[in-house]
């Protein structure tokens, strides 16, 4: 199926009334989640994942993806009005967005953020549509050694950019591999790390860990304090939310570079939208004729990072759907969703599931239009979400987490596990251990072990098979180089700068 006919087919799927409804629900939920500081897209998708089992997979995927990119739109609202980023990708938007709001230009900042998000979100989908099918064809040549090396490379990238300490990121990833190994060995039926508990024979469900670490961990961190923020007022009336022609003219380069850079960074596993937004902001400032205005309310300082973090979404779906390799916590949860629904993301995913892939692509075009239409006039309404008191919001999140976990397994043992993983997630935050490597280690652990053992079976136990096949050797070599970055001061300084 070529791109054009695939897209037409996708629109036929996405425009079905039920799928349109799920797309709408997803983008609205995503915007609300983006607005709320503390609750991010991975936590929300993980919480809602069990409830999607009753849905048609295409509708469910459209809704979950809507939450993912919708949150990017919503994230800017709190950055601009409250100086508190709704999610980490919106941190940099605070710099100029809040400064604009304090100068009485909150409306223009919100408007530019929405327009940049729309332009970049659309560019991201075009990129996904054009890059994913050919990449899937290349990946068809991969065998077990290449898959092992690809997963090792993906994990190395995540470790490189997940947090300040690569050592802690590596340890978190290894804990993820260990959790993935709990249960029955698929090759020999030996039970591993089950501590004599029958409930652990089938392993620990990904949903339990994801909800615990992301949702409950975040809730515990947010509930450390009773204090609640105070938002600046949102200008009333659509006219006050529209940027001026001069604003749009000033942002034309920011729209383009944010979109392209965001997509390219999104394709790299591990980089994520936070890195994309910071790099895009840096590029915009470096290229600007008036860099001294950045941080004091430059409109391009809002457009570039907001564009990059939206375009990254399309890029991040490329390795997820074509190689089965997620690059971040959110895409790891989406991968788990696909696997739970019985799909196998990888080179054959697009050809075997054209409805799902092209339906998703088309729904993202529609979702971006919905977000633009919704966000401009409804910003004051979304800002009301910020007024929900924490003592109501957090019990609701805890309740949804518990019901979500129980609905998957019907087991109170899993509910107690989710509490334990919530405490683990909280401690990881306090001790500066990044959560993304743990989740990716968990998601990729089973596949990585399988690919390694299959490779060694192919070679009668000779590990050299990983180094003698060119693609595998290149990816393993790259992974090794990435892990050696801390040894090179200049490269490590660049890495830390990108993270900070």
């Amino acid at each position: 199926m070529d791109v054009l006919s695939g897209l037409m087919h996708g629109f036929a799927v996405a425009l079905q009334p039920a799928n349109l409804l799920w797309c709408f629900v997803g983008v609205v939920l995503g915007t609300v989640v983006g607005v709320m500081p503390g609750l991010g897209p991975p936590a929300t998708i993980a919480m809602l994942l069990p409830l999607t089992f009753l849905m048609n997979p295409a509708g469910a995927m459209i809704m979950l993806a809507g939450i993912y990119y919708g949150a990017k739109y919503g994230g800017s609202t709190t950055s601009i009005l409250l100086n508190v980023p709704g999610e980490s990708a919106s941190v940099v938007t605070c710099l100029d967005g809040y400064a604009m709001a304090r100068k009485g230009r909150a409306g223009a900042a919100l408007g530019i953020a929405a327009i940049a998000s729309f332009v970049a979100g659309t560019v991201g989908v075009v990129g996904l549509m054009l890059v994913a099918p050919p990449l899937a064809k290349v990946a068809l040549a991969f065998s077990a050694p290449e898959y092992f090396s690809l997963m090792a490379l993906g994990l190395a990238m995540v470790v490189l950019l997940a947090g300040r300490s690569m050592l802690k990121a590596l340890l978190a990833m290894l804990v993820g591999l260990w959790i993935a190994g709990i249960g029955t060995d698929p090759f020999s039926t030996t039970s591993r790390f089950t501590f004599g508990r029958l409930e652990l024979l089938s392993g620990i469900d990904f949903v339990v860990v994801a909800i615990g670490v992301f949702a409950l961990g975040e809730v515990l961190a947010c509930m450390e304090s009773r204090a609640e923020g105070h938002a600046l007022p949102v200008p009333k009336g659509l006219r006050n939310l529209l940027p001026t022609l001069q604003d749009l003219k000033d942002c034309r380069f920011a729209f383009v570079q944010g979109s392209v850079l965001g997509f390219l960074i999104g394709v790299l596993p591990g980089a994520g939208s936070t890195i994309a937004s910071f790099i895009s902001y840096g590029v915009e400032k470096a290229a600007s004729r008036r860099p001294e205005e950045f941080g004091k309310g430059a409109v391009e300082g809002v457009a570039a990072p907001e564009g990059a973090n939206n375009s990254e979404t399309g890029g991040a779906l490329v390795p997820l759907l074509t190689l089965g390799i997620p690059g971040s916590g959110t895409t790891a949860v989406l991968l788990a969703a696909l696997v739970l629904w019985g799909f196998k993301p990888g080179p054959l995913f697009i050809s075997e599931n054209p409805n799902l892939f092209w339906g998703l692509v088309a729904s993202m075009y529609i979702g971006n239009v919905m977000l633009l239409v919704l966000n401009l006039p409804l910003v004051p309404l979304f800002a009301q979400v910020l007024r929900t008191p924490g003592y109501v919001l957090y019990p609701v999140i805890i309740g949804i987490s518990i019901v979500g976990v129980y609905s998957v397994s019907g087991s109170l043992f899993d509910v107690s596990l989710v509490v334990a993983f919530g405490v683990l997630g909280y401690l990881m935050r306090k001790l500066d251990y990044p959560a993304a490597p743990l989740i990716l280690g968990l998601v990729l652990g089973g596949g990585m072990e399988r690919a390694l053992r299959q490779s060694l079976m192919m070679s009668q136990g000779d590990l050299a098979i990983l180094a003698t096949r060119p693609i595998s050797a290149a990816m393993l070599g790259l992974a090794a180089l990435i892990l050696l970055v801390p040894l090179f001061n200049k490269l490590n300084a660049w890495r830390l700068q990108a993270l900070e």
């Binding site: 590596l170 030996t190 003592y391 109501v392 019901v403 609905s407 109170l412 001790l431 251990y433």
Partner: protein
């Protein structure tokens, strides 16, 4: 707590976990007739975890000026975690509605210091809302 201590203790905890993984993995087949056994992969990530946690412990001891970890508010998080654990027991003994209402009441009244009538109203409202939304409207079972 200084980060040195935090890294030291987390490093030691991870080293203990790694040692357990290695001991367990060494009891399983490292290699079988068809290739690597059940112990092959865990043994190697266990060894990697042990080495890296040793590096973390050593680097925390050698660091000159550790950053402080902000533990303010950790008591609140611990209290909520304990309340969650009690709520799970209550789910088993008295059902979701009562366990969740008790948890919500505790959060509003004890953690957020709101008056008890408001706490009771939020607790009953949320428990009732969950019951209406999940079992009645969505057909999803509650614990």
């Amino acid at each position: 707590m200084k980060a040195r201590n935090a890294d030291l203790w987390s490093g030691l905890a991870l080293a203990f976990l790694a040692a357990c993984i290695i001991v367990q993995a060494s009891r399983w087949d490292y290699a079988g007739p068809d290739g690597p056994g059940a112990g092959f992969f865990p043994l190697w990530y266990g060894i990697a975890m042990l080495v890296l946690s040793a590096v973390l412990v050593a680097s925390s001891l050698l660091r000159a000026q550790p950053e402080a970890v902000d533990w303010r508010g950790a008591g609140r998080a611990a209290a909520i975690s304990a309340a969650l654990a009690v709520a799970v027991v209550l789910f088993k003994l008295a059902g979701f509605a009562i366990g969740f209402a008790a948890l919500a009441f505790f959060i509003v009244w004890a953690m957020y210091r709101r008056p008890w009538p408001l706490a009771a109203a939020v607790a009953v409202g949320l428990a009732g809302g969950f019951y209406v939304l999940f079992p009645l409207l969505l057909g999803v079972n509650l614990p």
